[in-house]
């Protein structure tokens, strides 16, 4: 497939592969300075420098899922125990009140943790876009799970293409692909 075929209405794929973390960070900074956005960074491990450069310290919204899960869990634990006991008040072991909060606190605690964890898992799946089988193939680069880094644009506008390629090249990308065609490559990098 040629580069022309991979162009969609809103732009063209372009990706740079880096062998060095400092080069990658320089590439991200240069792109930001040039006012170019809409790129994704590929990395074999979670480096805090990359996340700082891209997200500038903003916390992940997954934390709200955890909070909602925890609140849902503690209420579920309280309601499950209290309402079921109220439904059959003749069961009154050990002279305890029908709705006895101290023994129910254990169930409420366990439900808080359980729901908190399950909601966090749901948040992770939603925000990470998992399962990610449908990711654009330019993001599916096996070298990235090994030891390389990458910057990928899925839909770069035509006016930015040359500038992006120049920035990727200037900051030390060892390979640049546009569409499916390699336009720049450092041998044996």
């Amino acid at each position: 497939m040629s580069a022309a075929h991979s162009e969609v209405a809103s732009g063209t794929r372009i990706k740079g592969i880096y062998a060095h973390l400092d080069c990658l960070l320089a590439g991200i900074e240069k792109l930001k300075e040039a006012g170019i956005s809409g790129f994704q960074v590929l990395s074999p491990l979670p480096r805090h420098e990359i996340l700082e450069a891209v997200y500038e310290g903003r916390p992940s919204p997954v934390r709200w899922w955890t909070l909602v899960g925890g609140v849902t869990g503690i209420n579920t634990g309280l309601l499950l125990t209290s309402l079921t006991a109220s439904q059959w008040p003749m069961i009154n072991p050990g002279g305890k009140p029908v709705v006895a909060l101290p023994p129910y606190a254990v169930i409420m605690f366990e439900c808080t943790i359980l729901f908190g964890a399950l909601f966090t898992l749901a948040g992770l799946i939603v925000h990470c876009g998992l399962p990610g089988f449908g990711l654009d193939k330019s993001l599916q680069d096996p070298r990235v799970s090994d030891d390389k880094f990458g910057i990928a644009f899925l839909r770069a506008s035509a006016k930015d293409l040359e500038r992006i390629a120049a920035i990727l090249s200037d900051t030390g990308a060892i390979e640049i692909t546009r569409g499916d065609d390699t336009i720049y490559e450092v041998p044996n990098a």
Partner: protein
Amino acid sequence: MHESIDANRPDTYAAANRDIIRVLLKPNLGWAVLFIIATSMMLYGFWCEFQQLTWGLGIAGYNPPIMWGVYIVTFVFWVGIGHAGTLISAILFLVRSRWRTGVYRASEGMTVFAVMTALLFPVLHLGRAWQVYWFFPYPNQRYLWVNFKSPLMWDVFAISTYFTVSAVFFFIGLVPDLAIVRDHSTGLVKKIYSVLALGWHGTDRQWYHYMGAYGFFAALAAPLVLSVHSVVSWDFAMAVTAGWHSTIFPPYFVAGAIFSGCAMVITLLLPMTYAFKWFDYVNMWHFEHLAKMCLLTSGILTYAYGVEYFIGWYSQNPYEWGIFYWRATGEYSWAFWTMVFCNCVAPLPWYSRKLRTNPWVLFIISIFVNIGMWFERFNIVISSLAHQFDPATHAYYRISPIEYGIMIGSFGWFGFWFLLFLQTLPAIAIAEIKEMIAPPVRGATHVEAK
């Protein structure tokens, strides 16, 4: 074996990938022999359970007053073993302890499989295993719900929550590493790992939310380390039975669980490290920390044993003092002194650095600790039930062949899953190992983002 974390660590991310996944799907003779032994033990356990289902719980030899026998002893033992994994993976993650990295994945695997094993025992102990759904609150025509005021019901919630959270934490940690295995495999294997890796490709978006969520999973799992065995201890402590009805039980059980879990990590990881020649990732530095954890918790246990006796004597309650005196001098004194030797005396050589960095000493003492911790639960469960308030009901409990078979089967079941894990999933967390390797940089100094 090296005695430092940084000794001989690989220079590149690719080397870490290669070293850790090279052992996957390549069973050797040693692994095959162990797998056959574990599978045989497991099948023998299944046969014993089949006999029990056929002939009833009587075949397990339960007679009043001892209606909690080896099944409950072994249940508590396996729950305890399951503690070290979450302690290492969650609590040590939150406190940023470096020695966790090499050992946490295998410890987490051990936790999940140990809790899977523990979960079998309440079902086996039921006798009528097909009525296991009675454990759970479900609407029925009689509006009869489970009793949430019972510690047994707390236990159902505690263990099932612990298993769910541990399994999720284990799997989430695995996802980036499964993507590495996918990218290094071909054909059907690649397809299987592609599904397991959930389409992970290491984009900044994936890492950003992953790291956010991972911290919360750790924060949620950390209190479970303390709560689960506290709840298990209340199965006993809430009962008005001499030798059980004690407020010291929760911290005593938690310390015991961490003690046995860390010892089991040594028992499993030491041979694994030698078999796979993973000395660059797991070395004596890690095992020394595990031995120190065992020493700390052994000290807490020894103190707890002493306090139990002191309170029994100081309370001037003849029933309370009677059970403790009888444990040390009566028919079960052999079990009591085995426990004391294995848990209080056997770990003492680890106070010597020379001995705790000797692999043979480490391995042998860890086995003693595992034995001692099983006997601790035997002492608590059996001796108290055998020697209750009315002397006319005093009895002596003998483990039946079916109980032996099911207990052996549980070790086989655990070994079966753990050995499968070693062959199919990365037993060392590759992505986290990479975080400890200096990143490749072209410039003379490390460049931070502005």
